[in-house]
């Protein structure tokens, strides 16, 4: 039980919170790296997914991307990218993480556009909307619940995966855990446990905040749409975190 006491003692030391590499700094680092990765993922995956969904092609490609991303270890990409022309530092980490944000974003964007009722689409076309107008005024608004769902899944996953940046000294809350392991479990066990707790709390908090935001921000008319994203898309997540 002394490990638990060690963890409590470690968490109770104010210096562990306010140091330049303390909990506050690490959390901020963790969050901005994750936010940048999700933003980059959205910038790539949403236009692509929306376009493929609008045209109605590329379903197999989405599945392939999802399956492939499951087989590639996050740790490997985090290790390889800093050794390329990108160099060490946050850009390599952000790029590696954004690749793992793409599958859920892409799959949900594609699915969101495919799930638009064909009759609604027909009605829009019958009213003389061009392809572009149909996309902007009919399909995109109806796909918003799916885009939001994909965003939430991707964001939670990236925040979780960003922990692994610690393997390449890339910052974030995972560093607290890896430093603890570095001290050996006899003396660093408390820190390892405390770090694990902090990471888990951060991830659950992000999940909770985004779930609430999704509920609060989505217009009522869209929330009533019965066809929620099926479990298959949520399950199509890579579990590489």
């Amino acid at each position: 039980m002394s490990v638990i006491e060690d963890a409590i003692v470690w968490l109770n030391d104010p210096l562990n919170w306010t140091n330049p590499d303390g909990i506050f700094a690490r959390t901020a680092e963790h969050l901005w790296i994750s936010a940048a990765a999700v933003a980059l993922g959205c910038a790539v995956a949403w236009p692509l997914g929306v376009l493929m969904g609008h045209v109605g092609r590329g379903g197999p490609a989405v599945v392939t991307v999802t399956n492939l991303s499951r087989a590639v270890p996050t740790v490997a990409l985090l290790t390889i990218f800093p050794l390329t022309a990108i160099g060490f530092g946050p850009p390599a980490i952000i790029l590696a993480l954004s690749l793992f944000a793409i599958p859920p974003l892409l799959a949900n964007a594609y699915l969101g556009l495919r799930e638009v009722d064909p009759e609604v689409r027909d009605a829009g076309r019958g009213m003389g909307l061009s392809g572009w107008q149909l996309l902007r005024k009919v399909e995109l608004p109806l796909a918003v619940p799916y885009l939001a769902n994909g965003f939430r899944i991707a964001a939670v996953q990236v925040v979780a995966t960003a922990t692994l940046a610690a393997y390449v000294n890339g910052g974030g809350l995972g560093m607290i855990i890896s430093r603890g392991f570095g001290l050996g479990l006899a003396s660093g066990g408390g820190q390892v446990l405390a770090g694990g707790l902090l990471v888990a709390l951060l991830c659950l908090a992000v999940e909770g905040v985004l779930a609430l935001a999704e509920k609060a921000l989505l217009p009522k008319s869209l929330r009533r749409v019965k066809h929620r994203p099926p479990a298959s898309v949520a399950d199509a997540l890579p579990a590489g975190s």
């Binding site: 939670v156 922990t163 390892v192 888990a200 579990a239």
Partner: protein, 237 residues
């Protein structure tokens, strides 16, 4: 000129790259075959034990959740929360108690993640068995047990196999995270290569082996599925 060509061939080469640190080198592979095979064996061992344990626990759990409706919520909720927690944090919770001398920490963590994929897929598959089929089976006098073994499980098998495949591929990738907890299979070579002077051939070879292992295991399970479920083969043909 040759160096530029070399960079172009390697694709990933950065300007000013050290030619003694290429992305791939056969001499590395031939000189370190034993190390690579040992890591591959450890990786395979961790994956197989974790997925087998997860399957043995998950399928009864999913059947329980399917039969006892009030348990489905808590079981799915628990797996959802677990899914949100990163593997490294889970290892951090376990390691101070289970230690890093034996692979216990890593195996418990990997089993829990595989477990939740299999539980979710099995439950979804069982719930998708058509109600008319269940009705006619009941009409033919099937009892609860016979129904489970001869109707519900066989009809849910394709979904269960999908869950197994996803869990296996994910576990292969996830094993690498075990490096910090002392048991990472090929992950030890990946991180080890990074920590010892960014040794690219080792990182790349271990990564490729890892992806190859995932694909091979996926194909094996696909083949097993086809043998066990001949009816899906006929439908596809």
């Amino acid at each position: 000129m040759p160096s530029k060509l070399n960079d172009a061939v390697l694709g990933l080469g950065a300007p000013g790259d050290d030619p003694r640190n290429p992305w791939f080198s056969w001499s590395y592979v031939s000189q370190n075959t034993d190390t690579l095979l040992a890591a591959l064996r450890e990786h395979l061992f961790l994956t197989l034990v974790a997925v087998t344990l997860a399957t043995v626990i998950a399928i009864p759990l999913a059947i329980l959740a399917y039969r006892v409706g009030s348990l489905a919520g808590p079981i799915l909720g628990f797996t959802g929360v677990l899914y949100t927690i990163p593997s490294l944090a889970l290892f951090a919770f376990l390691a101070p108690f289970t230690g890093i001398v034996k692979p216990t920490t890593v195996l418990i963590g990997l089993t829990m993640y595989a477990l939740l994929t299999i539980v979710r897929n099995t439950l979804t598959a069982l719930r998708q068995v058509p109600a008319d089929v269940l009705d006619s089976a009941r009409g033919m006098g099937y009892g609860k047990r016979a129904m489970l073994w001869r109707i519900e499980l066989p009809l849910a098998l394709p979904g269960i196999m999908t869950g197994l495949r996803i869990a296996t591929v994910s576990t292969v990738a996830l094993v690498t995270v075990g490096e910090l907890a002392g048991w990472g299979g090929l992950g030890e070579l990946i991180i080890g290569g990074f920590n010892s002077n960014y040794y690219r051939p080792q990182i790349m070879t271990a990564t490729l082996l890892c992806v190859a292992l995932a694909l091979v295991l996926d194909l094996v399970l696909l083949a097993v599925g086809r043998i066990v479920m001949p009816w899906t083969r006929r439908r596809a043909a």
